[in-house]
């Protein structure tokens, strides 16, 4: 195996950044690739070189094998690191790299292929003495055969796409009478998603945990395991929180799993970083082989944190032909690491991806917390790629410490722009089953059958926000006018200082808030209702603290100008809190809002742009009027339906004449 000095990183986002850093650690030059959507991305800036490879759509850029190989050749890169996702487990791509004389940083194409098809992978596992979930992985895909196998396996059972992954193409059957229709749907899904309708059947595990083993193999026949990870916290079969080691795992079972993973890797001649995934039936205490991922995993950092082994660096070293220079016995698992995936998504709305610009971005800076991020302030979150932006990995001496640290790190992750899942992740960390380390893969759906909802901000939360804003003030100097607060002549008796703030929520609702008092003693009144009465109130950076009936209270806030986010609150509510409620501009009201568009001046109607019954949106031009040799467009000031058109083109109108009638429509 030949060496290389320059590596093309065929990926984007946090993993591209992570791999650039690994290259740098080995004094390898890095080449980033980017699509139109990523021209200003962080990985492009950090790499030594960057090559544009196509439009935003992944199919025509990050999935375009030829474009990637061409980029490597043009920049003189000797190797391609595929990262995860995209082409990382594509045997054809690995072969194409080899054919082009490029080192593919990963296992050999044959190994990828052997583990790529699930049926074949399971057969190889069984041959290596690794137990699989009872099931059918045969080539006979007839309904009759599948029904017979299903009867053998028993219900509940799972139908999966043989070429699938990530939960797509999976279908649970509780009753065999539903099998035929389920098979039909599963085949269609499999064909459309993967171009391969082959299905497999498996026993459905009632108390499943997702346990996986990190493997490193080299080109010299050596295989090491780097202990296990627990990735049981999943939503829609996608991992969101991972940890190493696995909590509450029977030591015997743990050893069985580690041994099995090494056995399989040795059997197939595994020669890079990979992960052997198992499902552990927590009731029976048995582990079954699920699949092998022939690439670096998203969650690899937790293993790095507990073993001290840099997996990305070893991927590169192995690809360059180096031997693994540590024995299995030299490896140990120290402390605990937990990772949370920060994604631009709304967990309260079916994890809907969120897009937009990160107008501000601040990562937590805490000892024992690693941040792997692909974004920065100003980054644009586009709809083209995975919604994961960054990973927080907390390490502690034990699980409880790591969990607390991760919670703190999440609370100290401050972003403005698209909504992130940090509050949701914080809530997950606090679920009793997770706290005890006894959670199964059904944790989220069982904890929140109706879907997760952030706690609704209460008046007390709003009052805290106002108080923090009040204490932050807007100091424009340090004279008495700035320092004395809401000083009043009557404050020594019945008439204390009183500040009026206006709190506007995301829906635009404005609430008036009075803050009475000074020098630490404050009362907050919302819309006339006293809500909060505190003493010793102060604001230290991002922390509001005060004393009230509940003792010493601390509330985390993030202030950006007039906008305040209650970072300590699960819903992460953001309010605009200003000295004025915001004034509607005159001219934006009236007019069509009253249902009638009238001529503002005498003139001639040049064109009528709408017809009766037509839906119009706010700002849409309705009529073009000519007056004093000037054309002017008359627009709808709000959405509505045209209920009448009183004029037609060519009509002369006087000021005040009715032109178009509208029925106003409730705005969303």
């Amino acid at each position: 195996m030949s060496g290389f000095d320059k590596v093309l990183i065929a990926n984007r986002g946090e993993i591209a950044v992570r791999l650039i850093r690994a290259c740098r650690a080995l004094d390898l030059l890095s080449v980033a690739v980017y699509s139109d959507a990523d021209a200003d991305a962080l990985h492009v800036e950090l790499a030594d070189e960057a090559v544009h490879i196509g439009p935003a759509e992944a199919r025509a850029s990050y999935l375009d094998a030829q474009a990637l190989i061409r980029a490597a050749q043009e920049t003189g890169a000797g190797a391609i690191h595929p990262g995860y996702g995209f082409l990382s487990e594509n045997a054809d791509f690995a072969r194409a790299c080899a054919a082009a004389g490029l080192v593919f940083v990963g296992p050999s194409a044959d190994v990828i292929a052997s583990m790529g098809a699930k049926s074949q992978a399971k057969r190889l596992a069984i041959e290596a003495g690794v137990a699989c979930v009872p099931g059918y992985h045969g080539e006979d895909q007839s309904d009759e055969r599948l029904m017979a196998e299903a009867q053998r396996i028993g219900t509940p059972l799972l139908i999966k796409a043989s070429a699938g992954g990530g939960g797509r193409g999976m279908r649970r059957v509780n009753d065999l009478s539903d099998l035929n229709s389920a098979l039909r749907l599963a085949r269609e899904e499999a064909r459309s998603a993967f171009g391969d309708a082959t299905l497999l059947l498996e026993r459905y595990i009632e108390a499943p945990r997702h346990i996986e083993v990190q493997i490193l193999g080299d080109h010299h026949g050596q295989v090491r395991h780097l202990f296990e990870r627990d990735c049981s916290v999943q939503r829609h079969y996608q991992k969101i929180i991972e940890e190493a080691p696995a909590p509450n795992l029977d030591p015997t079972l743990r050893q069985q799993v580690l041994d099995a993973a090494v056995r399989l890797a040795e059997a197939i001649g595994y020669d890079n970083a990979g992960t052997v995934e198992f499902v552990v039936d927590a009731q029976r205490g048995e582990a079954y082989f699920l699949e092998m991922n022939t690439r670096l995993q998203v969650e690899h950092p937790v293993t790095e944190m507990v073993t001290g082994v840099d997996l990305a660096i070893w991927q590169l070293r192995i690809a360059a032909g180096e031997r693994i220079d540590f024995a299995q016995a030299q490896l140990s698992c120290r402390g605990w690491a937990i990772e949370a995936r920060i994604a631009a998504e709304d967990p309260a709305a079916g994890y809907q991806p969120q897009t937009g610009r990160l107008t501000s971005y601040r990562e937590p800076r805490l000892d024992g917390v690693r941040v792997d991020s692909g974004v920065r302030a100003g980054s644009e979150v586009s709809p083209y790629y995975d919604s994961m932006l960054a990973k927080l990995i907390a390490h502690g001496p034990d699980r409880a410490a790591a969990r607390r640290k991760l919670g703190r790190a999440l609370a100290d992750f401050h972003v403005d722009g698209p909504r992130l899942n940090t509050a949701f992740l914080q809530d997950v960390l606090c679920l009793p089953a997770f706290v005890e380390g006894r959670h199964l893969t059904g944790l989220l759906s069982e904890s929140w059958p109706e879907g997760w909802r952030p706690a609704t901000p209460q008046p007390r939360d709003r009052a805290c926000a106002v108080l923090a804003r009040h204490l932050a003030g807007e100091p424009i100097g340090d004279g008495p006018w700035e320092r004395l607060g809401a000083w009043r002549i009557g404050q020594t008796s019945a008439r204390p200082g009183q500040a009026w703030w206006y709190l506007q929520d995301a829906e635009g609702q404005v609430q008036a808030a009075q803050v009475r008092g000074c020098r630490g003693d404050f009362e907050v009144i919302l819309d006339g209702e006293p809500v909060l009465k505190v003493s010793q109130a102060r604001l230290d950076g991002h922390l509001l603290s005060f004393r009230d009936g509940q003792g010493r209270v601390r509330v985390a806030v993030a202030l950006a100008g007039e906008h305040l986010r209650l970072t300590g609150h699960p819903a992460q509510p953001v309010w605009r809190i200003a000295g004025s409620p915001g004034v509607a501009c005159a001219g934006q009201e009236g007019g069509v809002g009253s249902g009638q568009l009238t001529a503002p001046t005498p003139g001639q109607v040049v064109e009528v742009l709408v017809a009766e019954g037509e839906d119009v949106s706010a700002g849409q031009p309705l009529v073009v009027l000519e007056a004093m040799k000037m054309l002017q467009q008359l627009c709808a000031s709000q959405a509505g339906v045209v209920t009448g058109v009183s004029i037609s083109a060519g009509d002369a109108v006087n000021s005040g004449d009715l032109l178009v009638s509208l029925a106003a429509q409730e705005s969303e």
């Binding site: 009043r488 009557g490 200082g497």
Partner: protein
Amino acid sequence: MSVWSTRIDTRAAAFQDNAEHYARLLSQLRERRDRAMQGGHEKLRERHHERGKILARDRIDRLVDPGTPFLELSTLAAYGQYGGEVHSAGVVTGIGMVSGTPCVIIANDATVKGGSYYHETVKKHVRAQEIAGQQRLPCLYLVDCGGGYLPEQDRVFPDRDHFGNGFWRQCRMSAAGLPQISAVFGGCTAGGAYIPALSDQVIMVEGNARIHLGGPSIVKIAVNETIDGESLGGAAMHTRESGVSDHMVGSEAEALALLRELVAELNLPAREPALAAPAAAPLYDPEELGGVVSQDRRVPYDCREVIARLVDGSAMVEFKPEWGDSLVCATARIHGMPVGILGNNGALFSASALKGAHFIALCEQRRIPLLFLQNISGYMVGSEAERGGISKHSAKMVYAVANAQVPKLTVVIGGSYGAGNYGMCGRGFRPDFLFAWPTAEIATMSPDIATNVMLELRRTNLKLPPPSQQELDEIEKAVRGQYAEQTDPYYATSRLWDDGLIEPSQTRDVLGLCLALVGTVPHNDRHTPVYRM
């Protein structure tokens, strides 16, 4: 600077007695101030709210930048007059930060006699405008008034400093580049109509605001036209037809928000930066001031003990500490800003007067604002004093005060008698601000001396037969009664002889707020009037 080492023992009986006495004065002040600041009768306030209106001081709270001071002036104006019903003279005036700009705010209180202008209302309104002109501050008028109080028209309308003066000042200030902006919340009839009409910009609140030279009843009499108030002078008519108003808003809250935005757009020349050092609290608690000041006017106290409780770090540099010691002169800082302080430690002798004149000249040369702490029985009398030229020496101090160009602040702590009042920058000498403590007494002379003078005049009156003892007793009773009434600080503040009664412990903050204004007046050489079109 040397830090003052106090000689006050706060556990001593005399201190405790003084403190208790002052506590009683303070509770009386607070009680009277609270009542005045409530505004009109409860029923009137309720009706005000029912009309969607906000009380005058609540309007100000919403107008000023949240979490910043409002320096209210002459809270007890008209106190004890007109049956004690015209609280704060029906108008709230003061200085507050609006969109980062210090502004004079003049807000009518419609719950007090409909916001009508009494003699003191006019005086308070004009005084606030005078401050705006001197300190170069924009004027914001929160208008809700029924014009002049007709039964008092002779004390409200005709004279130089009466109602017309307010309009004259509006025009002159606008020309001098000081924005005049009105938000109209209620009726503005006749004279009242000119407050918005003479403003650079006007906001009207739909439904409640009215501007008309003559209301519906006058219109009916004068031109026999029957018309309702809204059509005659409502916000919609004035904003969309007459152009008297520039903005119409749906609520008072919106009017105040818009006013904040208009102020944010003023593009005023920047104020001079205050020469402020970091401020340090006094070493000795200002709350102790009540115990420092003797309740018996004849028992002296050291005014340096007062200064030590007002200035940063209780530190000062005394000028001529061993000469003319009945006048303490010292430079110090209040809220970080330099100030030259003159305080009385007894009657003023020739030496004290010369020392004062010299010190004023020093501060003038160094552009240090002056602070006069008055507790003065007057300049020394007697043959020794006269032979020593007390008249010409005291005149030098008066002359220096009158001509000093630096800003001047006065606090009347105790007595303010006779020519001492002049030399120590009384109201007649136009200090930028003048406040009084509840222990203040302002008069030509003390009641004792005044009684003696009046009795002597009667005895020596040749046109009348010699007085009986009964007549002399009656004269003494009448004079003492008159002086007791008229030297009462509430009598003085009711008549706007000061800018308000303040508590001793508030004094430092009040002076700090004032110094930050008087020390930052921008230069102006432009004349830019705005005419309402």
